[in-house]
Amino acid sequence: MLGIQIKMVSCHLILITRLPTICVKVGVIVFPGSNCDRDMYHVLRDVFKINTEYFWHEKKLSKNLDAVILPGGFSYGDRLRAGVIAAHSPVISDVKKFASKGIPILGVCNGFQILVESGLLPGVLMKNDSLNFMCEWTNLIVENNKTPFTNKLKLRQKIPIPIANGEGRYYADEKTIKLLKKNNQIVFRYSEIVNGSTFRIAGICNKDGNVVGMMPHPERATEPEINPIDSKPSSLIFESLLNVIGVAH
């Protein structure tokens, strides 16, 4: 359950006592206005038993992190444009270093917007074509199952998952879309038209495939209790990460 405290134990101790917490470390970045940080932390730590740590946006990332997650929310109140101010936070230069080293990085919702605004991913996220904030359950189709966050999913697998955003319509010019297709950088597409996204794109990755951004919220869909449809496919996003960073779940 939410908020249940699992005692912090050192990795060394885990090996001896075989406690469930896994000896890898994932960082969740918190910007002023992030609001899915606690949800992401709960899923990583309490559901997948991953050693997880928050990083305030002014703090340096620990060198030993195995993956970094930029959670959803309204960093800086979405002022100017969603994600654009946070993209200039001190922590982003560390994120960029990690990205170039091939460390898995996931941006969800506002996290995706920040990755795009910081230039780590191409394209932009614009206002939904309804011009409204949209909160609803939708289906994703997996288009690339080679990334650190999709390797346990099947190609074309359906993922029931909620979206919740006002600026979630992915847009890129034709040339960029062509490149995305060519480089296999389109990770998720919506199964039907949801918000007017170009080519129904819901998530993409960088050329190397280690930086992934997606608008829907996998952390809201991994527990059967709050997922009225099927929580298994979303769980595979986190199990894929575990698969890559060295420990099978």
Binding site: L2, N35, C36
Partner: protein, 721 residues
């Protein structure tokens, strides 16, 4: 900005001199109806406010309920009607902000928002449409940014709200019992103002709300900034964990005047403050303006020298301003200075306790003129009537509204909006069900029975999820209390709510009274709103998909209670008739049996029967599950009712239970043993909803066609007019 003559005289007599201008402004703000409850306070005492789960502390602005295992749930409800009627986006948004800070001030994290919205006839009135659209956007903008899910509420349209808006917001908090702020202060402690700067917005807001709405006083409307509020929430919770807070109160109506005087009065202390130390948004603000500004996103904190350093570090992390504005004294005075000059020095008890009024009341004349017998035209086409009602703004699906609210954030929402009550999971393995309900149509024709009906309806919705009601909040909204007739309707509603609360042992843990809800066109219909919280110890009833072959069982009697029904008002434009009455004994019996059925796992789903009556409740079940149903109206427990009465009466205490064949006998046995009104009234299957009486078809509806109308008609009206 004024005091009544006798109030001015009372003030002068009490302080033995003429008040200064600042004193006058402070007192006028604090003695406004909005802040002082001067008309209602005497009567509110009748409500039962204690119970085994209720935790009360000095100076709490929200109700606190113990939910076991060291955890508490907090709840509060407020409205922001006047501001929303002038500037719907900002008015509704700041309405959310204010109630969230009430939750925060006890030291609990806000985890959910519910909103009750009421506007004029959006089908005909484009201004009502504009107000509605923007109020929804305002709530979405604020709540979504905070990352607090808006998990439910209700929306209603009625001509009585033309040129006006009722925006009611309830908020829920959750936290550990041992981290609740136990408000206390010692001489020499520091008074800190934390959050956004004080500006000229919202000046005189509480007085503006304490008069009928005649002008668009925009300067009285506050400006929302959800980003600062989010930072304040995180900063305060961090400060709570670091134990930097001795006492805390949010700044709402009446601004600093209200927060300072009420905090000092409740803690039995004096506070001396210097307006020069208050961080302001603009230069040249007069001290009077600073004292009564209702700028949002501000909290008043009492701390001490030792804890201040930590508090400042936390504020610095979140880049929010925090000014030490004064100190705690032992003299029970509210002492406002500018540098060395004293601007106000008033006994806090005097400021915080306006002279109460005992307003006269009398039975309204209109009640005697309401017709009792409703029209029953012959050969009505019930198929068309149901279709028309399903597409009406009051009954149409509200997905256009809640689809703009992030109802998932916080990952607690187990039962999402759009059904009966919404359900949240709590950290101790229990579940919290919440629902708010109002019914101005019924409250208009019978303020007492109408209010009881709202209360029971909210309880029914909570019960449908398997939850036992543990507490309630009420929000009583009426016109001008100086009108004897209006005041009578207020008292009647209050008495009804009190009777029900006492009989069902559901304590009132919070609430609000809002008067002067009127425009030059007249007062609103009496609109009490009831929010009920219920706890589920084990598992909530998650509605399972209905299959062909499942049965529909009804519990409760359908009576000739058509008064204030959607059918009479929307279809026939008729106001009058018998208002539905709750039989307390039967109501309790039905609630208990439904809870027992859910506990024994005998029901696939349970649905409350209310607005629009049986016809609408069954249609909703069918549309949600995309399945047809054949219903025998002759089986519906009732006494000699006409067809329209069977279909559309809004009698209370009725539940629809969907049962699988294998559990049918068990349920039948259970219900017969308890001697309750019940019967098997329908079989699910096919693609049509067929209402029959004595084997003659009364209405015949295609589920998919009906569903399309139900899902899309509200958006159609709002977007395309």
């Amino acid at each position: 900005m004024s005091l009544a003559k006798q109030e001015s005289a009372y003030l002068e007599k009490k302080i033995g001199r003429k008040p200064t201008s600042t004193e006058f402004q402070i007192v006028a703000a604090e003695w406004s109806e909005h802040c002082s409850y001067k008309s209602s306070k005497k009567h509110l005492k009748m409500l039962p406010m204690s119970g085994p789960n209720v935790i009360s502390e000095k100076g709490y602005d929200s109700g606190v309920l113990d939910v076991g295992d060291g955890y508490v749930v907090t709840v509060h409800i407020e409205s922001h009607n006047h501001p929303s009627a002038v500037e719907p986006f900002g008015g509704a948004a700041t309405g959310v902000g204010g109630v969230i800070r009430d939750i925060l001030s006890t030291g609990t994290r806000p985890i959910a928002i519910l909103d009750g919205l009421r506007f004029g006839d959006i089908e005909k009135d484009s201004h009502a449409r504009w107000l509605f659209k923007n109020a929804v956007s305002g709530i979405a903008d604020y709540g979504n940014c905070l990352g607090i899910p808006t998990i439910g509420g209700e929306v209603e349209f009625d001509k009585c709200y033309s040129d006006y808006a009722l925006v009611d917001v309830a908020a829920i908090g959750f936290g550990k019992k041992d981290r609740l702020i136990k408000n206390h202060a010692n001489k020499g402690d520091l008074v800190v103002l934390l959050g956004g700067p004080t500006g000229r917005d919202g000046i005189g807001g509480s007085q503006f709300a304490s008069d009928s709405l005649e002008s668009e006083n925009r300067s009285a409307v506050q400006i929302p900034d959800p980003f600062i509020e989010k930072l304040i929430i995180e900063a305060i919770l961090e400060a709570r964990d670091e134990k930097c807070i001795n006492a805390m109160k949010d700044l709402g109506g009446g601004g600093l005047s209200c927060a300072v005087s009420e905090t000092a009065d409740s803690l039995g202390i004096g506070i001396e403050l210097d307006v020069n130390n208050i961080h302001t948004r603009e230069f040249g603000m007069r001290p009077d303006e600073i004292m009564i500004s209702e700028s949002q996103e501000r909290m008043l904190i009492i701390t001490n020298n030792k804890k201040l350093k930590k508090l400042k570090t936390i504020c610095k992390k979140f880049r929010i301003q925090c000014s030490v504005i004064g100190t705690v004294k032992a003299d029970n005075l509210m002492h406002v200075k500018k540098g060395s000059k004293t601007l106000a020095s008033l006994p806090t008890h005097l400021v915080a306790n306006a002279p109460l009024l005992d307003r006269p009341h009398m039975v309204p004349k209109y009640l005697k003129q309401l017709p009792l017998n409703h029209p029953t035209p012959k050969n009505q086409n019930f198929t068309n009537i149901i279709l028309k009602m399903i597409s009406s703004p009051n009954i149409a699906n509200k997905n256009w509204v809640y689809g703009q609210y992030d109802y998932e954030v916080g990952i607690r929402t187990v039962i999402k909006p759009g059904r009966n009550a919404s359900v949240l999971r709590l950290d101790n393995g229990k579940y919290l069900a919440v629902k708010i309900d109002g019914n101005p149509k019924q409250c208009y024709i019978d303020p007492r029975q109408g209010a009881i009906g709202c209360f029971e309806e909210a309880c029914r919705n909570v019960v449908c999820t398997g939850a036992t009601p543990i507490g309630m909040v009420d929000h009583l909204q009426f016109g001008n209390p100086e009108d004897h007739e209006i005041f009578w309707t207020f008292l009647e509603s209050l008495k009804g709510i009190t009777d029900f609360a006492k009989d069902f042992a559901i304590p009132c843990v919070g609430g609000k009274v809002s008067f002067y809800n009127e425009t030059p066109k007249g007062p609103i219909k009496p609109t009490p709103l009831i929010g009920v919280l219920g706890i589920i110890e084990k598992q909530p009833l998650r509605p399972a998909l209905i299959n062909s072959g499942d049965f529909l069982v009804i519990i409760g009697e359908t009576k000739n209670e058509m008064g204030g029904s959607e059918y009479l008002e929307y279809i026939h434009g008729f106001i009058g008739g018998n208002c539905p009455k709750v039989d307390f004994k039967k109501s309790k019996k039905n609630m208990n049996i439904v809870l027992e059925i859910i506990k024994k796992n005998l029901a696939k789903s349970v649905h409350d029967c209310s607005k629009g009556g049986l016809a609408i409740a069954i249609s909703e079940l069918c549309m949600n599950n995309r399945i047809g149903c054949k219903i025998s109206l002759d089986k519906v427990p009732s006494k000699k009712l006409k067809n329209d009465e069977l279909l559309f009466s809004e009698s209370h205490s009725r539940y629809l239970i969907v049962v699988e064949r294998k559990n049918l006998n068990k349920i039948k046995k259970l219900l017969s043993e308890k001697n309750l009104d019940h019967d098997i009234i329908g079989n699910f299957g096919g693609t049509k909803i067929l209402f029959e009486k004595n084997l003659v078809n009364i209405a015949n509806l295609n589920v998919e066609k009906l569903r399309l109308n139900w899902m899309n008609s509200l958006e159609e009206i709002v977007v395309h007019g």
